[in-house]
């Protein structure tokens, strides 16, 4: 009996602390993005509610960061240098885990809401992405390549970082919009929401998945080109021949 009591006394704070942690109920405006002929990019709304224990919001400010992240892949990054007056690819390095897409939005600038250690753990912000560069031993050179990779993707619209774009209502509801460019790679994306208070991530939820895929004609063309290359090539030749011949025939009659 005494032992059970001791165990209970031991467990109680843990249960209580679990109860003290708020819960996130995140969602996104679209679980599926279909790329079709008119696709010019998409706008994704990430929103949700924060459920506080006993329904009481804590004193002080809470911050929210949302992250939408594409599948990771290995890439080679090449760097052009001016050699004999011509800019040519001179140096390169490999990265083993580069997200195909990464967008983060936060209610305030990241540097104001999390310390650098937390940011590194949760990969918050473009400078904190763990891209696993390989092949370069020199730290300065590696940093140059990492910066180059991030800058390239930022300009392509595939890496985004926005501060102050997460709106929080009554410390309970939050929402943020993230833009997705038309050049977005297909795959399964994860939407992550982080609740931040006093420089620490209190709770993080990354259970929401978004599928981005080509559908209909665009999917058919991609599959044919990838898996039925000979047929696709023959079809392309035929379409081109017929269209060219038909146009010539029509114009002769005009």
């Amino acid at each position: 009996m005494m032992r059970l009591l001791a165990l209970l006394l031991f467990l109680l704070p843990m249960v209580a602390s679990a109860q003290n942690v708020p819960k996130l109920v995140p969602d996104v405006s679209q679980r599926e993005i279909n790329i079709q002929s008119g696709f010019t990019g998409a706008e994704m709304l990430l929103f949700g509610a924060i459920i506080y224990p006993r329904g009481v919001a804590p004193e002080g400010q809470v911050d929210v960061a949302v992250v939408l992240r594409g599948p990771t892949r290995s890439v080679t990054l090449r760097e052009k240098q001016n050699i004999a007056g011509i800019w040519i690819n001179a140096d390169s390095t490999d990265f083993r885990s580069v997200p195909a897409y990464y967008a983060i939005a936060s209610s305030r600038p990241l540097s104001e809401i999390v310390d650098s250690k937390t940011a590194a753990i949760y990969e918050l912000g473009l400078e904190r992405l763990q891209l696993s560069p390989s092949g370069e031993v020199d730290a300065a050179e590696q940093k140059r390549f990492v910066d180059g990779l991030v800058d390239l993707n930022r300009r392509n619209g595939l890496f985004r970082q926005e501060a102050g774009t997460v709106e929080i209502t009554d410390q309970v509801l939050y929402r943020a919009r993230l833009n997705i460019p038309s050049s977005v790679p297909v795959g399964t994306y994860t939407a992550e929401t982080l609740l931040i208070r006093n420089g620490r991530v209190i709770v993080a939820d990354d259970n929401v998945e978004v599928r981005i895929r080509k559908t209909g004609f665009e999917q058919l063309v991609t599959i044919l080109a990838q898996d039925y290359a000979f047929f696709y090539g023959a079809m392309a030749v035929l379409v081109s021949l017929l269209l060219g011949w038909f146009a010539g025939y029509v114009f002769q009659r005009l």
Binding site: S37, L77, V221, G244
Partner: protein, 304 residues
């Protein structure tokens, strides 16, 4: 009107692509060239990946040349024997081009090589054309006729072993010469997305010494088949043929070509050639500057 290109994986303005095809089509109708040498660089300037631009442009050239081939066939303007030799060489050329493409892509130098080839080729052909058309414009202004060019093949060609008779072309030369010529243009077609007419036509005239009445038709015949081969080769190796892009280019270019053909009838051929030379040189200069200027983005990504 925005349209998503499934192979290039990006969305473009369909109107821009059609107008681009149309503009090139006008020129190709005026000058009887395929226009691939303009399509590929313009697509690259517009932001299409170079491999997709080259592959899809060659698909477009197939469609742009087909009705021309029929027209020249009706007039008896195609030397099929010569054409067959050229195509035979050209198909091997596309295969060699595919291998070169793969090697250069692995080395990360494909874009630079494409650019340099364009500068060298367009610069030299454009320069030659400009010089020639300037002389003839000056001569016609002065009112005295140019001395008729003597038609004969280059000594290098004459020295090749094993001679065949090409009746339609009025030639008795070694088939190795057109075979090599076809091979080289095949490589160009694969790498640059050009039909190669603007290399082929002067080479046929000044290297092989073919009769002028079959030069354009035979060159078109070769272009038709070699661009078909290059589309197949790209589909099988680089997988960069974007059929949506090719179709939109083609819609523009077939309409443009008709307009161009009508415009050409009202212009003097000397000035027409000079005009083409200027355009070719402008593209070459733009590409040369692109090589020398610090690019906006010095980094490029390639998926492993």
């Amino acid at each position: 009107m925005d349209i998503y290109l499934p192979i290039a994986n990006l969305s473009v303005n369909a109107l821009v692509i059609i107008l681009l095809g149309g503009g090139v089509g006008v020129l190709s109708g005026m000058f009887g060239v395929g226009g691939g040498f303009l399509t590929t660089p313009l697509l690259i300037f517009y932001g299409i990946p170079p491999a997709v631009a080259a592959a899809s442009a060659s698909t477009q050239v197939t469609g742009a040349s087909v009705s021309g081939v029929f027209a020249h066939m009706k007039r008896g303007g195609v030397d099929f024997q010569m054409g067959a030799v050229l195509v035979f060489g050209g198909i091997f050329g596309t295969a060699a081009g595919a291998a070169i493409f793969e090697i250069l892509e692995a080395l990360g130098q494909i874009d630079t090589v494409i650019n340099i080839l364009y500068v060298v080729m367009l610069g030299s052909i454009g320069g030659l054309m400009a010089k020639e058309s300037l002389t003839s414009v000056r001569a016609s202004r002065a009112g005295k006729p140019l001395p008729a060019a003597k038609r004969r093949h280059h000594p290098l060609v004459a020295n090749l072993p094993m001679r065949w008779r090409f009746y339609r072309s009025g030639l008795y030369i070694s088939p190795l010469a057109p075979l090599i010529l076809g091979f080289i243009t095949g490589i160009m077609t694969m790498l640059l997305g050009v039909g190669g007419g603007f290399i082929m036509v002067p080479a046929m005239l000044y290297l092989l010494g073919m009769g002028a009445q079959v030069v354009v038709g035979t060159s078109l015949f070769q272009i038709l088949f070699v661009t078909m081969a290059s589309t197949m080769m790209h589909s099988l190796t680089t997988k960069a043929v974007d059929i949506v892009l090719a179709v939109f280019l083609l819609i523009g270019s077939v309409i443009g070509a008709q307009i161009g053909a009508r415009l050409a009838q009202r212009m003097r051929p000397d000035y027409l050639r000079l005009f083409l030379a200027v355009i070719v040189l402008l593209v070459a200069i733009r590409m040369a500057l692109g090589l020398g200027w610090r690019p906006d983005e010095i980094y490029t990504l390639q998926a492993l």
